[in-house]
Subunit: 248 residues, 8 copies
């Protein structure tokens, strides 16, 4: 609720056009929709420029389908992450246009075209096993209206593979770097570009990787400036933030 | 065993009404019942105002059913938490009145009505995925004789959803706030009310959530006063404590 | 800002008694005071029933003194925790009534008497070394208008010391139990009373105590119902919450 | 290889009764048997007073059966821990006398009676869910020639259940105390007896129990003297050590 | 070394203008300067748009002074972080224009004016104790040519203090949010704006804060999109990244 | 309070020799002495066979001296651990017989000779740096009436040093093994003897030793049977338990 | 890309034999091959002396087969680790010569014989459960052209089993020591040999082993010099490094 | 004690040249020297090819001096690590030839020249703050008879600084790579050379570096083959192992 809209409402109240109790009710109802198991944040797009995204993990297929069914009544693109095939089956019943990306574990429904800016986002992965997280990032960036370039399997153990792509990487407006194990790739990329690097640690690995902790700590303590980190395996968060920066 | 009952017993012994060895035996037998795999605490209600509650996890269905069968010989309401459907099947065979709440994972048997106080307990959840823990808290508070108001999916990422409920929350005598991930909701609620807040971290989430650790640490270090924390996913503990406070 | 005051302000605006831009300004200015290095929360007492408390750690003596000097212009009792002797010297210069409790590391200034309720709070410590944290809890509870009973050095290694005090403990409306090392005392107290137990882990100890972690985990996983936990060494938080419950 | 046997061998070598190369070979062969996947420690009983025990976890059923088959050629009682039903089936084929304890997850084969000392070992469990670990301890102590008294479900949340058993506990020469969650029971028992207490943390629990860590830290930092700790869930280690102490 | 400059060099070599061995040497020497204890990265500005910054911690005052003395021979603004007063004394001897910010622990030397873009960066702190880290972020952003707005002490325990500043915050192109303890402030800010939020956990606090771990985990698991995290206490990293985004 | 004494008291009450209220008071007063900052456990020797021991850490010199002054009125040997020179100075003023062991950081006052059993305790240290902890164990065992043999600096990196002492080690009735870093020595000793091994991890070391954690985990997971572990640096606990076993 | 080959290329460019744009392309294409989901490092053997090895975990069977199919077009021996039976089935379809080692979880394809040096590598395991990791190490060392001696189940709990093998161990040029639980074996071996010891912690165990952490910390803090550590369960890494040292 | 010397001794015993009890004594006395607080391992050089090295930390200056004084009676080079200036003063009194390296914190006494092999060891540091650990490694390698090349401050944030040194690095027989923070440098070096890389994590850094944990985990999970890791800050261990490999 920003200053402007608050002023407008107060002005209407002052002018007697709006009843006090009615004004109170309007303020409440505009903002969210209760489904019993979920309270949907209707004015998130107004507030943050982006519609609410459904996080599928921990929800039942019926809950995910129910939320999507409600959101279809509105005019936004819809994205659900961490979904299962079973969830998709539920959704496809009433929305045949829904797309399911098995690698990224996403459902996306495109209700309007968002014109992308001329710049693009690079999504760089250290290894083949990091692909699902990278794909979640790419799909997220794309549905929010961005062009994405994917660069795969260029980890530091064979760093010349990265150098072959350096021109493409340097042209990106923002880089997402996805890596597990020691998570060293963002440090190296960050040292070579003059654009923001969003580092995504993955839980891929074994042993002292401890579910992504080694990559997370490595990225947080990176000596390369211009780098920040999102949660382990949080491809969505990286794609969302990259979109926000790319569209500034 | 409080002072009063100890005095009474000593007085009877002094008056010769009670044999010394008999007195010793009475002290022992009154207090608990051995089932081989369990020693039931009979005077817990006397001592703490609440009957013993069965924690199902780690017990076999036969053990859970056996303990409930014994407890039915007494006059208390019965609550079992962390139960499975299989446990419920065993119990239903000899106790058709038993209620099974699948979300909360509880069996409850109501043998007497406990009149609730005029005040109520608010159970607030940050996200849909936190519902099972919140429901365990609510069911617990209800069986111990309390009115409960449920407020769902009002996490801090869309904080106006919380403000829409603020009047209801402020009327509660005690608030239970259930949240996973960063566990920030209790801090915000705690900063807005003048009543105790019981924070329940959940293991819902992924990555650096580390099985509820992020929410737990967030809640423990909360800057809002009037907040205390129970174990991760411990809906029962929160509901029990809230009941204790609401019925003071 | 509750519903009531929002309605009143809207009504005044509607009646033309209050200009829209003035209404906006009022809403802002009432609520807080900026000191450059701090933004004091003026209506916290209105909102939560308790004035803001100063956390001394990490602030300079001048900052602590500056905040207290401002707060003296208002009509509330003042409490500063985690203060040093140096901070106290700065405060005493302009406020000779300030009291410094060296064990509890608190400065308190009593500007009005708060009549205590008939019930009391018990502050129980497991060992002599836990006294500073327990004293912080007791001082906090006292300045917010509560009677406190202190019970010291009754840890579980000699549990009959606790039993000697059991009648006093059972009469308390709420118990604060302060313990380091294995943190077992709250479990035992919680199993004997029918009132809330607030457990405070302390960082007292060595070895696998890991700065209070052993006590914290012990208390969180306590099998005794009716127990909740505050942060390690957080005597203030426990005293505050106990006051809130005692004054319900 | 103690001093005595080394002297004897040297004496035989000196007397020319034993060839140097033969002496070397004897020293090697006496001590162990190679099975390809395992090197069995033949003189462990000689050296430590106890035969080698088979740890089943991480071995295949064929490996467990192969080791037991070899050990049957010797004259010791045989104990295998952490076994599965499948392992037992393999063993029963060639050794019908083998006993399988499903709760304790052990196979035991009694080839000779070991006369127990007059004293006994108490195995005390905090909760029903701790029974498997406690039973592993009890079975271990029994096969090594000890009388065991089992005391179940006497956790600190209802501490009078423990007091009802206090005379039995005080008569034991050594106490094994098995507990999960906050692991407070050994502290309480340790404060009441003048005999060694072996504390066994279990991984039973949830939330901040972190796979037994809370109980482990609680027991390690216990304020009761005379207490030591074995690994999480290590019923075998506790039973073995208790036997060693009981038979001193 | 980008494609362009490599082509140019190859072209010169081809044209015979540049000797092969000379070409090799040029490639090496242009790029860095060895001081014995440090190897200064001369073409970092070329490569990343920003000159190298000196991290004072772990270096001796003489090393810091030596590096700055060398850098003065070049035409960039100079920033040293985590410096001590002693380091500053050494630098002031040969560079009286050096500025020392005691709160931020920085030395800055401005050799050229960088015209700031019309947009600005907001630096928001949860508490007074977080000021040093916030100031490091602000000083960093300023020396790299940005306008900064500072908003202090608006933590979630009195969230209306934040709302009073919401218009200013919403006008910023990028927000840096600095918080210790539960680290909840970035979640709340992130839920209210449509611009990137850079979260900086601080080690301010005590108990289960564990040196900033609680704030770090809270920020990483934040449910608000558009948020990313830098290392604990890494004000420099946040200021640098914010500058990069603000100047895109 | 054992069964016997409870019977006796009940019998006196029955016989009218003892008033009920007097009986209650006696039960209380016999058991402990309150000093304000400490509640001394008077019947610990009765109950556990050992008098209470003073843990100096976290107490002020005056508190330590006050407790010792009170204990001198009773007929037990006195031991204080983790004391400082300053504490000793306070004690020496009123008790010139007090002995201060600077390495072990103990004060001991011998008021009666306890005849040692014929067997002895071996205290084995892995390295020179482990001596303070080992000495605390030895001093503790000695004051409780045991003969101690000290074996120093025989860590596994030069394991023949241990073998030179193997005969002495094998004659001990119980072995205390003190080690930091990888904590491997108890495993090796435990594999060579048929007597209990009490492992004491020390916080000596650096890097991945993490304050004794590496040694603690190593000892807990030791594959040698007959081994149990006490807290990091807990020489007292090991000496106490060893005494208990040696005097069985 | 070493100096030599860079000179050669520059020389050809200078001589006009090689076009500038062609030179650039050659540099890129020689080095790696893109498969979409993987970027194969073609000149790793040139650069590091060893061909790229496929890490199967986290890849789909089709991806593993696809990578192997491409590598068959080149002249190197092929090794894939952490593979499943399903992956092997895919590979066998087009490459019947592929060998599958079920214990080691490897696929190996030998396209050329590498003559082994006269020296050998010893692979020593503490327990039977450590065999899979040890076998991965052995298979790796063998395919890279080394003779391997396997020594199994010689953990420190029965240390004479190790001594029986000491001559063989002392003849090895490098020792790989594989152990779980307390991970003490490398310390003991390291103290007896004058050759490098590569320690491999395994995740075998339970309780305070915490997924291999206890063995890892034990090995890192080992007091025996000449020892270094690879990741938990990283048999491949140990075999590879041992090969590198053995073939120096 | 290898096979050869055991045979010789047995042969002498057989020939009657050596008494049995004398043989036993010889075996014991040859091997170590007891100083009371230390047991010096005399035949470590025989056994491992290297004399014992003194670890100064945790020892008193008198103990360090006493051990060195004894070692001077033997014919080996002497190295003490983690020493203080005070220790050096004690040693210089009786050994003016002792050298003190303040950066490396070592005392070294060279009693004989060890001819270095033609190959050399590269010691590479990521940052200036890692120099003390790197210097400890270099000094260790040098006293054991190796040529060392030092390459400083070539961390991955400016990776071309490393490439300038790549020819030197590729000529080394073994590389020691010392790095704090994210510890990425060994991964990059390991991907470029065909020689062993010994990675040394340092505790240099702040925040999520957690005393070297981030660098340690990063190095352990490194994707570059041929890399192994020593303990945090363990320059000595790296130098020792590098010497062992270089002199193979």
């Amino acid at each position: 609720m920003n200053n402007e809209s608050l002023s407008k409402l107060l002005t209407e109240v002052k002018a007697g056009k709006l009843d006090v109790s009615e004004a109170l009710k309007q303020l409440r109802e505009l903002a969210s929709k209760e489904l019993g198991y979920a309270t949907i944040d209707n004015n998130r797009e107004l507030r943050t420029g982006y519609p609410e995204v459904i996080f599928g993990q921990g929800k039942t297929p019926d809950q995910v389908a129910g939320i999507i069914r409600y959101m279809l009544t509105q005019d936004n693109n819809i994205l659900a992450t961490r979904v299962t095939g079973e969830m998709y089956e539920k959704v496809r019943e009433f929305c045949p246009d829904a797309l399911y990306n098995e690698t990224a574990r996403t459902i996306s429904i495109r209700k309007k075209q968002i014109p992308p800016p001329p710049t693009f986002i690079a999504v760089i992965t250290a290894g083949t096993s990091d692909l699902p997280v990278a794909e979640e990032a790419a799909v997220t960036a794309e549905i929010f209206g961005n062009r994405v370039e994917r660069i795969v399997d260029v980890g530091v153990a064979g760093i010349h593979r990265l150098y072959n792509k350096i021109d493409l990487i340097r042209q990106a407006r923002v880089n997402i770097v996805v890596a597990g194990m020691e998570g060293a790739l963002p440090s190296v990329v960050g040292g070579m570009v003059d654009k923001p690097v969003i580092a995504v640690p993955t839980s891929v690995g074994y042993g002292a990787n401890f579910g992504g902790l080694s990559a997370l700590l490595g990225m947080l303590t990176s000596c390369a400036s211009g780098t920040s980190v999102v949660n382990i395996d949080n491809g969505f968060g990286a794609g969302f933030l990259a979109s926000m920066i790319n569209r500034l």
